[in-house]
Symmetry: C2
Subunit: 460 residues, 2 copies
Amino acid sequence: MMDLFFKPKSVAVIGASGTPGKLGYVIVKNIADSDFAGKVYPVNPKSDEILGYKVYRSVTDIPGDVDLAVTVLPTPKLTVATVEACAEKGVKAIIVESAGFAEMGGEGKVFQQQITDIAKKNGIRVMGPNCSGIVSRDIVTSIYPITKKVPRGNVVLIGQSGLLAAGMASDIVENESLNIGKVCSIGNKCDVNENDLLEYFGGEDDVEVISMYLETITDGRNLTRIAKRVAAKKPVVFLSGGRTEAGAQAAMSHTGSIASNAKIVEAAVKQTGMIMADDFAELKDFAKVFSTQPLPKGNRIAVITLAGSVGVVVSDLCAKYGLELPKLTSETTEKLKDMFDAPVGNPVDLYFSVTKQGFTKTLETTFPDAFKDPNIDAAVVILAGFEYTREAVQKKIIQKIVREVGKPVVVCMIVGYNKYKNVIMDELGKDLPVFPSLISGVKALSKLCEYGIRRQKLSA
Amino acid sequence: MMDLFFKPKSVAVIGASGTPGKLGYVIVKNIADSDFAGKVYPVNPKSDEILGYKVYRSVTDIPGDVDLAVTVLPTPKLTVATVEACAEKGVKAIIVESAGFAEMGGEGKVFQQQITDIAKKNGIRVMGPNCSGIVSRDIVTSIYPITKKVPRGNVVLIGQSGLLAAGMASDIVENESLNIGKVCSIGNKCDVNENDLLEYFGGEDDVEVISMYLETITDGRNLTRIAKRVAAKKPVVFLSGGRTEAGAQAAMSHTGSIASNAKIVEAAVKQTGMIMADDFAELKDFAKVFSTQPLPKGNRIAVITLAGSVGVVVSDLCAKYGLELPKLTSETTEKLKDMFDAPVGNPVDLYFSVTKQGFTKTLETTFPDAFKDPNIDAAVVILAGFEYTREAVQKKIIQKIVREVGKPVVVCMIVGYNKYKNVIMDELGKDLPVFPSLISGVKALSKLCEYGIRRQKLSA
């Protein structure tokens, strides 16, 4: 059933427009620009052709089957009438992108209930209202113009907020390295909610990580049940907005439903095995770590640094976030001994190897041995924005080692020249998760380890 | 006395070299390239001239007074002999930049003690050993090449780690907007320690914010006493490395002294009014907020956003970090009413004003009124990486409003196109503190408010 939203064979755009800039135009244009190969039926009582597609007066006039209807109409009343018409036509999936419903209170609530009632009576699934549609390679039904090809990616982002999902969509088409391949905005959730989507994406093989922003939880009991099952198979990163009183108050005026309670949410998340994010940046960053890195078997970290002080602060942060820094085995330290000017420990201070044999050689000879050590589950690599770092990154030296060792890694950038830092972050970011601070990288790795350990336990 | 390190009239570089790349060359070159207008005396028994300066065989051969000696010699033994020679010459300030002392243990410790003894006996102040010198507009004595003019800035950065201070120095010359005007590395602290520098910079009018990274605390009782006095006058941001067991172990092998205890450090910091950072990024970022923004009178925040969801998450983060989101006064909401499509609250969701009158007009008409509200002490402004944002930033609209209102602000970037985001961060970053995530911005503002409230109480 949910396939009708994401892989329809035919789509009607009700409220389609031939005027560039209008929402009803943007949707048709987005569909036309996407890889969608099925039938497109713009609906507008006053047009004949939009972007080369024949226009129909009403959804009921469309000759063939309609898998999905996308509506963007000026009034809630018109929307309700359209949902009725869709029911008559036999449409089973509708995305209502207009606002003016429950989030406005009063009459808006009544109109929204009418939509829900019609949907229920006719076995129709409705996404929205007050949402911004779907952005994916297969089809783009967003009200925001998506001017580039949506990249393939194994992460799906579910957002309750239309505007935010739209913003995120601009992020992902601009920045392929996020690995986000689908963005889906569910708005007021009059019918389709987070549980439906978790269940659906849980079963989709091309979705490996689910990232989710919610301001309200529709059905906590079901969420707990479904999330637990899905999170046992694939990582679910969850940003819960409105957890605090201040946040709840803000959410109230935003998507118009009663806010969640911090403690209930946090307890539920912990129990399910979902990964909790505190910021939109974390929602993206954690998803990137999970979608690009293998799961570690434990929380034993090697810290690879070029400055002692950085190793000290990363060690403190690892302790704070529940990561351990074990000693390397005597085999490894023995093996590395001759390549270092000073005793080899963990943090592995490459400085004392760089002074002996240069940066590239150090990376190639010492980093892999430390990383392969059987006491080590994962690594934090700290790089500075200098020319030699950029060279190593452009020669893919770090990327190659990480791939060969096959353990997870996060990279943190520290100090150096912006001109090198930006290039390093862009280049390395295509293959590995790179963070602009130590805190953000260590926190992300701690989430990966926590989840990895949970999965280990589940499979034992 | 400490003036001799930072504003000497004459400087001897002992171990100076004419060979580019050698540390003894870099130091002379750095001094030559800085604004230093006093006498430069390179010392080397085998050279006659380095970079146009006449070279002396020994420090005792120098004809005039020597305010400051910088030594970079191949062995600890030679360094000790040189400190002796400096004593004979009557030098009262020495920076020992070579390593191989207490951080190596054994004999290194003995050599370091010898330096301390000579210094004490002769009333000499010694910075280091195992440090990387000073970077400032007035003079650069760093062993790392500083190829650009050091920007003027009201922040001083004190680092125990040489390499880190060097990295930071590359940051500050590259990136003027950090406002860091001086970086000073104190290494093993055989004599000059954090307390000397806190005291000194506490009294320097051109230093408005002190940022400090330590791995060990030399004299906790004195630090508490001095920091309390200095922090009552100007903000002191403190990153304490080696607070945890893992960090302490890492610090042990790095600067060679017994590590600090997390609880003692944290309690002391709280008591003194210093601002605690957890990452090098925070050390810089907090300093930037303190050095560019006025102190707020309280913790009542206006959240200025363009998307409801972002307002929700920022509200949650504000609650987490002890910031309040009060209602705007009825005068303000009344005044703003007609410019919005929806009720005006806090978070102030500009979206509902943008839809009415566009982004620039919204900024100019609604943002100042909300920000000026007497219920509001400071603001978090969240901007997206879109073209209209860049335009407003380049027209300095936001900068101008903030300056006129005269209250503190932090800006957080969220979603959007990288090409706009980078320009916005660079441009706006020249005038205001801009953060790449919501968490980092809110945390920084919470530190500013905490300190502002403390200062209010102290002055009451």
